[in-house]
C-alpha cells in the first residue's frame, strides 16, 4: 500500500540526480560577472549554434569560425590589458529549437561566459536575446535576419548581419543599377519567396524599393520551404506572366529546386535574382545543379574575398576543416572579434562595461560592407550591407558594387541560352 509514496520518491530522485549531474559545470564556478584576475585566467565566450538537426551544416561551420577567432586572439597574445588573458570558447548545441537554445544559453552563462555569439535561427535568437537581456550578458548575433529581434528595445543584443529591410532594399537597387548599366533595364519582376518571416520581409522590402525604381512587380508567389518538392508549376506561372526578372528569397534546398525547375521550364528570363538566397551564393550550389545555375545572381551579405585577411582565413579554414568556409562562419569569426576587441577596450569582464564597449565598436570586418562594424542605438550594425554575386563559369564571383567586384556582372544572364 505504499506505492504512491514510492512514486513520490521515484519522481524526486531522478530530478535531484539530474540536478546534480545533469548540467554540472566542469570545474568552473561563479556567475558571469566579476573582474578577471591576473594572467593565465581564461575568459569564456559562449557559442550557440545548431550543431545537429536540419541546420547542422551551417551551425557546425559557424562554431568552427568562432573557434578560429578565439585561436587567433590567443595566438596574438590574448587580451592585452587583462594581462594577456586567454579566451576560451564554450559551445552549445541549440538543435535549432528555441527551448534548447534557451537552456543552453542559461547553461553557458552559468558556466561563466561573459558574452554570447549565435545563433543562426531567428526563433532561437529571439529567445536567446531575451535570456541575455535578463541576465545582462552581451549577445552578438552573427546570423539571424528577423527584424523583430532588435525591435524589443533590448540593451544587450547586437547584430552583425544586415537586417532583412537593408538586404531587400539594396537587392532592388542593385537590380536597377546593373540592368540599366547593361542597357536593358528590368521592367517586370516576378517574386518567388518562402512564406516564413524571412522570405515575406524580403519580398515586401524588395517590392517597395523596386516599385519606387519604376519596375512593376508580379506575379508574387510564396511557398512552404519545408514541404515544397517541385517548382515547375510556379516557374511556368512566371513564364506565362511574361516577367523578365525573377526575384527569389529562400533557403538552400528550395533554391536548388528552383534552379532545376528554371532549367526544365525555360522561362526566358533576363535574370534569376536572389536576395539573401540560401543557395545561389554558396560554393556547393554550382556543383549541385551544374549548368542550371549558371548566371544566377544573389544580393547577400558576403565574406569579402578581395580582402587579404579574409583570403587567409578561408585558406586556414580549408586546411583545418577540409571545407570551403561559408559567410556565416566568417560572421561568427567577426562576432568573436567584436567581443575580444571590446574586452580589450573595456579592460574588464564586467558585463555592463563590456556592453558599453561593444556599443562603441569600430572594427574592420572580413565581410564586404559599407565600412567598419559599428552599432546604432538599436544594436544593428549600421554599415552592414549586401553585395551582388553571380555564378560565373561554375563558381560564385563577387560582381557588384565595383569596389568589391572580382569580375564584371553578366547581364542579361539567361541560363542555358
Amino acid at each position: 500500500m505504499r506505492k504512491p509514496w514510492i512514486a513520490a520518491v521515484a519522481v524526486a530522485m531522478p530530478l535531484t540526480l539530474a540536478a546534480c549531474g545533469g548540467s554540472a559545470p566542469p570545474g568552473t564556478e561563479g556567475t558571469g560577472g566579476g573582474e578577471a584576475g591576473g594572467s593565465g585566467d581564461t575568459i569564456t565566450i559562449g557559442s550557440l549554434h545548431p550543431l545537429s538537426g536540419a541546420f547542422a551544416a551551417d551551425g557546425q561551420q559557424m562554431d568552427n569560425g568562432a573557434q578560429l577567432a578565439v585561436d587567433a586572439v590567443n595566438e596574438a597574445g590574448g587580451i592585452e590589458c587583462l594581462d594577456g588573458a586567454q579566451l576560451e570558447l564554450a559551445s552549445g548545441d541549440t538543435q535549432g529549437a528555441p527551448e534548447v537554445g534557451q537552456s543552453e544559453a542559461q547553461r553557458l552563462i552559468q558556466e561563466g561566459a561573459v558574452a554570447l555569439v549565435g545563433t543562426y535561427n531567428s526563433a532561437v535568437s529571439q529567445n536567446v536575446a531575451a535570456v541575455a537581456e535578463r541576465n545582462q550578458v552581451p549577445f552578438v548575433i552573427d546570423v539571424s535576419s528577423a527584424d523583430e529581434i532588435l525591435q524589443q528595445g533590448y540593451q544587450y543584443t547586437f547584430r552583425l548581419q544586415p537586417s532583412a529591410a537593408v538586404l531587400a532594399q539594396r537587392g532592388a537597387q542593385y537590380l536597377a543599377e546593373v540592368s540599366e548599366q547593361a542597357g536593358d533595364p528590368a521592367q517586370q519582376v516576378a517574386i518567388l519567396h518562402e512564406q516564413g518571416p524571412f522570405g515575406t520581409a524580403i519580398a515586401q522590402g524588395f517590392t517597395a524599393e523596386a516599385e519606387s525604381q519604376g519596375m512593376t512587380i508580379g506575379p508574387v508567389i510564396s511557398y512552404d520551404p519545408a514541404s515544397v518538392s517541385d517548382f515547375t508549376t510556379q516557374i511556368t506561372a512566371v513564364r506565362e506572366a511574361g516577367a523578365d526578372v525573377m526575384m527569389v528569397a529562400g533557403y538552400y534546398r528550395d533554391g536548388v529546386l528552383v534552379a532545376n525547375a528554371v532549367d526544365t521550364v525555360q522561362p526566358g528570363l533576363d535574370a534569376v535574382w536572389g536576395v539573401a538566397n540560401g543557395a545561389f551564393d554558396t560554393p556547393q550550389f554550382p556543383g549541385e545543379v551544374g549548368d542550371a545555375g549558371e548566371g544566377f545572381f544573389d544580393a547577400n551579405y558576403r565574406l569579402d574575398m578581395t580582402n587579404e585577411d579574409t583570403q587567409a582565413l578561408a585558406e586556414l579554414y580549408r586546411e583545418t576543416h577540409g571545407d570551403d568556409i561559408r559567410t556565416a562562419a566568417v560572421l561568427s569569426y567577426d562576432a568573436v572579434q567584436v567581443i575580444a576587441d571590446a574586452l580589450g577596450r573595456a579592460c574588464s569582464t564586467d558585463p555592463t562595461e563590456l556592453r558599453d564597449a561593444i556599443s562603441e565598436t569600430e572594427l574592420d570586418s572580413l565581410i564586404a560592407q559599407d565600412g567598419p562594424i559599428a552599432f546604432d542605438e538599436t544594436g544593428e550594425n549600421e554599415n552592414a550591407a549586401p553585395i551582388l554575386m553571380q555564378v560565373v563559369d561554375g563558381t560564385v564571383q563577387q560582381v557588384f558594387p565595383s569596389e568589391y567586384a572580382e569580375t564584371e556582372p553578366v547581364y542579361p544572364a539567361s541560363p542555358n541560352s
Binding site: A56, T232, L257, G287, E288
Partner: protein
Amino acid sequence: MTDPTREHGAPPLDRGTVSTEEPPQTTQLTTPAPGGRRRAVAVRVAAVVAIAVVALGLAYWRTGNEVVVTQAVLTGLMIGGVYGLVAMGLTLIFGVLDIVNFAHGAFLAVALYITVEMVGRFGAHPYLALLVSVPLMFLLGAAVQRFILSGAMGKPLENQLLITLGLALLIDNGLLLFYGPNPQSARLPNDTGINVFGAVVTVGRLLAFAVALVLAGLLYLLLQRTRLGTAIRAVAANDSGAQMVGIDTRRIYMATFAIGTACAGAAGVLVAPLVTIEPTTGELFNIVAFVVVVLGGMGNVVGALVGGLLIGLTEQLGALYLPGQSPLLSVFIVFVLVLFLRPQGLFGRAA
C-alpha cells in the same frame, strides 16, 4: 409460477406463415459478390474523376491560364508517383503488421545515401544503385523487424510509435554522424525536359514515375500471384486465423517489413536525383506518405499509387487555389475529409 391473470396477451400474430423469399446466406456478409464490388469501385473511380474535373475547372478559372494548369497537373502526377512509391512500402507494413512506421522516411534516407555512395565511389548511373539498395534494405528491414519491432508486436499504439520514432532519430543522426550535414547530390546525366502541351517534364521524373508504376505492378503480382503474397494477405486479413491454417505469422511479419523497407530502398534511389540529399530529407516524405496510405486504404498497394497521384495533384492545385497558404494545408483538408467520409480509404472495402 405467477398469477395467470398477469400473463400478458400473446403477441399480435399479424404476419403470415413463414415463407422463404430471400434465403439468408451468412457467407454473403463477408464476401460480397465480385460483380458488386467491381461496380462499387467503378462508381468510386467515376466520383474521383468527376471531382478531378471540377478541380481542374476551378484551377483554370482561378489562374486563367491553361498552360499553368497543365503544368500543375503534370507536375502533380509526377510528384504523386513518387509519393505513391514511398507510400507503397508503408501501406504494406501498416496493413499487415498494424504498425504506424515513422522510420520509413529514415529508411528512405539510407537509400539516398547508398545512391550517393554508388555515384560518388564508382561513378555509376544513379539508378544502378537499385541493385544494391533494394537487397540491402530488404535485409535491414528484416533485421529491424526481427530484433527490434518483434518485441513490440501487439503492444499499444504509443509503444510502437515511440519505437519507430526512436529508430528514425537513430538513423537520421547516424547519417549525420557519418556523412556530415552538408547536402549531397546524385544527378542524372543528360536530364532534359520534354514538352507536353506547352508544359514540361524532365526525363528523370518521367523515369521515376514509370518505375513507380512498374514496381506497383510487381508488388501487386507478388501479393496476388505468389504463395508468399497469399500468406501476407491472409495475415493482413486475420492473423490468428492465418496462424490456425499453419502460416508462420512471425515469418510473414518479418518478410512484410523487409519488403516494405525494400520499397523504401527503391523509392530512395529513384528520388535521389530529384532532391537535395541531407540526413533529414526522408522526413519530408513521411507525413505525406501517411496521408497517402489512408487515402488509398491501408494494405492496398494500388490504392497507395492512386492515392499518391491524388495527393500530388492536391498539392499542386491547392497551391493555385490557396495562394499564400501552404500546399500541405489542402493536403490535410483532403486527408481529414477522407478520414471522416471514407476511413477505409477510397479503394478499401468497408470494414
